[in-house]
Assembly symmetry: C2
Homo-oligomer: 645 residues x 2
Amino acid sequence: METRGTKRTAEVIEDSKNDTSNKRQKTSEENETEVKVQDIAHLMRIDSINMTNASGSGHPTSCSSMAELLSTVFFHPSGMKFNPHTPRGFENDKFVLSKGHAAPILYSAWSHAGHVPKEELMNLRKIDNDLEGHPTPRLDFIDVATGSLGQGLNAGVGMAYSMKYFEKVSNKVFCLLGDGEMAEGSNWEAMNFASFYKLDNLVTILDINRLGQSDETSLGHSVDVYEKRFDAFGFHTFVVDGHSVSEIVKALEDSKNITDKPIAILAKTIKGKYFLEKADKQPWHGKPLGGESSPVVENIEKMIQDKNASIIPQTPESEAKEPEHTELAVPECKYNVGDFVATRKAFGECAKLLGDQSNLVVGVDADVKNSTMLQFLKDAHPDQFIDCFIAEQNMVGAAIGAGVRGRIPFCSTFATFFTRAFDHIRMGAISQCNVKFVGSHCGVSIGADGPSQMGLEDIAMFRTVPNCVVFYPSDSVSTFHATTLAANHKGMVFIRTGRPEAKTIYKNDEEFKIGQSKVTLSSEDDKITLVGAGVTFTAASEAAEKLKEAGTNVRIIDLFCVKPIDKETLVKSAQETNNTILVIEDHYPEGGLFEAVCSAVASEGVKVHSLAVNDVPRSGKPKELLAKYKIDCDAVVEKVKELTS
Amino acid sequence: METRGTKRTAEVIEDSKNDTSNKRQKTSEENETEVKVQDIAHLMRIDSINMTNASGSGHPTSCSSMAELLSTVFFHPSGMKFNPHTPRGFENDKFVLSKGHAAPILYSAWSHAGHVPKEELMNLRKIDNDLEGHPTPRLDFIDVATGSLGQGLNAGVGMAYSMKYFEKVSNKVFCLLGDGEMAEGSNWEAMNFASFYKLDNLVTILDINRLGQSDETSLGHSVDVYEKRFDAFGFHTFVVDGHSVSEIVKALEDSKNITDKPIAILAKTIKGKYFLEKADKQPWHGKPLGGESSPVVENIEKMIQDKNASIIPQTPESEAKEPEHTELAVPECKYNVGDFVATRKAFGECAKLLGDQSNLVVGVDADVKNSTMLQFLKDAHPDQFIDCFIAEQNMVGAAIGAGVRGRIPFCSTFATFFTRAFDHIRMGAISQCNVKFVGSHCGVSIGADGPSQMGLEDIAMFRTVPNCVVFYPSDSVSTFHATTLAANHKGMVFIRTGRPEAKTIYKNDEEFKIGQSKVTLSSEDDKITLVGAGVTFTAASEAAEKLKEAGTNVRIIDLFCVKPIDKETLVKSAQETNNTILVIEDHYPEGGLFEAVCSAVASEGVKVHSLAVNDVPRSGKPKELLAKYKIDCDAVVEKVKELTS
């Protein structure tokens, strides 16, 4: 208790001025404001009860533990500065509710701020209303979707980083987390990041209500342990009673004196606070009070001084503005037909050239930039780059956050290490994010490092993401086009790049579109259509030469865009080549090129065959591995002979 | 420097006995042993240089920073107790190399221990040798694959938990991590877990060599910050010079007095230690020394006292034995045909009954056991359960670790939250793990919670995992069979369970097999085959009745086993029903049931059509959502009419 509301020992001197100011008596106006904030907290509590009763599901007890925290941050002058009528405005301070299941009280706060009509609240979770069970940017006051725990802070640090370093503006990010989600490692990734970058514009608020869904959390009400951990991770911490508006106000005020450190307000709270015998009790997670609401509501109403209490939020002072996006031109690719260059290298070069065109193009890396070749962008534009160290979840979250602030983030690691952040990527789709993911080191063609480093499920993963564009370029020129198309496309994109050198096959003036494949070889006498990309496009092309010598013509499709897929070209080619397609891919067969092609032609009765990596691979030289897993030229020749005999 | 090799203040009293013992002079024998350990460290350094030169790739500088740490743990009497000739033996202490890219020096250690022939080392990374770029259990001395950073400790805590609580044996787990990977949140999940469960049989060794792949780590050589963080996470920490055998020995000896806390040895090291001008320099990550080796090798050789130094590891004292697995019988399912019960509930009941049969059946949960219904197992057998709190990566790692110790782990959360652990699941396949994953709350049929909670990519994800069996039962009886088949199957399994109640359709004596689907409705006049599972099996069955009334007979397949898929039944049914299949699924179309079926029949020219969730869904009632996303009875009827008209 002795540290409650006070600063840590190490900062006593720098905060001494503030200490004094806090010892003075509050003015009556200040007292009145705090009473109003408390009233609004209680009104929001009641809203949460009524809303979840109306929907028949939801988490009123999780709302109640954070009522004073939310009310103070939203409405007290020590809290956020924002215009509630233009919530997307870049000048506003931003609020992220990481514990997304407490959505009802957040909706209620936006209602008390004047943005959401009060009557609308009772439509919570209805199919024709955007006040969903967990917040999504279908609502104009939500920047990132939450609901999968331990993701809010990752996006939050991305937003705060952008404000402080890219935009150089004074806005703050307030991120409220539940204590249960502190078990998620992603939060500690974000915290390491936040302190490394001295994000003093980030205010993290922890609602320590002790109870998870099925059990007590691992730390219960041990606020001191949270304090120790946040402190060790470089935060300036304030410990408060989360139901005392006055203590929260003091922490928020004191936090304004902290520079060079992110802020943490660690609030001891009660789940279901003021819910009578339901408070601090286990079986009340995610349950509306229903028929048992009345005594609880009465109990809360008794404490309200003014049922019409309202406060207009503080006007923003930041001059941040949403940046304008202009169409980026495809940079000149210096390679000529026949030149050998790895697509990962071409990507890095193009990213750098796009960065020359616009400072909105930023790189986001997790300590592999010298492998993905995003290094080229950093070398040329160190101020357009976020180093995230080896922490892929936070890397993706930070990219999502930077995207919210109008950047065009190229977020790159080994293709397979995006699996580490699949939940963040999945939530990125619900967040309608604008991140360009680039995965290098795909498939067995990387060679001796072995299966742990090989992307063999990355296409399957990104294909499941609704509306995500998936490119898999086979040469330098098409990589330049994929990269530029990605930058100009509003939405999620995945580009798969390769480690081995690949022959440049397209001229610089070749046109590429989203959803378009290229027929690179055809005759009127093709016996089969071969579909490949990257190293398997090379294998197919080489096989075509050998097969032609042996008297068999084949058609070759460079798939280029895996999603949306070029159904028209695939079906037309199949129909002209005995209704038969062979798909070759450096990927597991499930969810990759083969199934993408199957899916596209399935309704047409086309026969589709597969050459793919069918087991956990191993170390070896790239050529040996392509041969062993039967996706090289010889394997294609053999399979085509079998299919056309 | 003042804390180097000494205990933390808080433990001074309990360690005082030990302090005294460490103040005495070492015997000449003890000194000789330390010299030998140092010699072996140098010999392993040279091995690592030669091995990576032979393979032309690899990470000699990352090996060199941990040479003394590894040598001391393997060979000094204060370190591991193990029989190097029976490395899989349950009686051994276990070693996990989380920084898997330092594999060469680990292989060298097993060579110096007498298990790997010295000449074999030079076959590193060759395609016909199991000494791969990163360690996998293809080698009998590796328990879990590493190489994707930040996973070793997750498996390590699972092994340590099993030893301490399930097996009640005295073995220890030694886990060596790199400092770069400490940015991965998964490690902090493991650490929170380790201290909560007081895993004093876990010795975590951190190789703080300052340098990552592309940059310095976020904390560089700030060993004090690591110490603060490990301490805050409940570890007993020892700070040592990682190149001083004597300091490492002291820490290992002192650690034996620590009870009720996991141990951390935080070692300040130099990347490329003794590599002359290459030491502590950035561009030497992952690069063999090649032509620049000679002066480095000479420099190291000069320091070696005895080129033939060798030590026989300490004999294990633990009486741990590998448990015998006996075939589990399918428990009697209490539901009769026509009874309504959610498959998640049936799963929980079956898991409990399997737990009655064998104490090797254990539950692994991340605070949703009252939703997945694994709660039934915990209630009946609290000693067969691991609560992991909200930390899915560590949950999966802990399950993998428990599996290594002969348990049969049922690891369960919401289907979509397994995306959080995809990288761990992917590595689980390389680890040849024996985990049974059970994902509840699949699809839009969960209703009002909204898209963040809906599993819509889980089948796609688990299908990419090589050799993973994927079950999707539609009723209680088939869920009992899937659960029992999973328990008896050696390898990875995923079972998808549902939230809504489902009608029991099979009798208890129905037989089910891996790779088998069920035709539940057929006539000689079927116009089309409908394939579904879970709620879409119900939709298809209801549609069949309506269609029959309208004069159209259809065939129904309850897919049951999605992988391996029952190609024979699918092709035969299609051939008997106008070569046409309609797949209905509560999942995104990519990588799910539709593409699984496409893939199975693709070579036969069958026409396959899809009804699936084609966009990010939203909150609503289950029935409303099934209708909105066109996967309910009415949608099936409409689609069949369109396809058969």
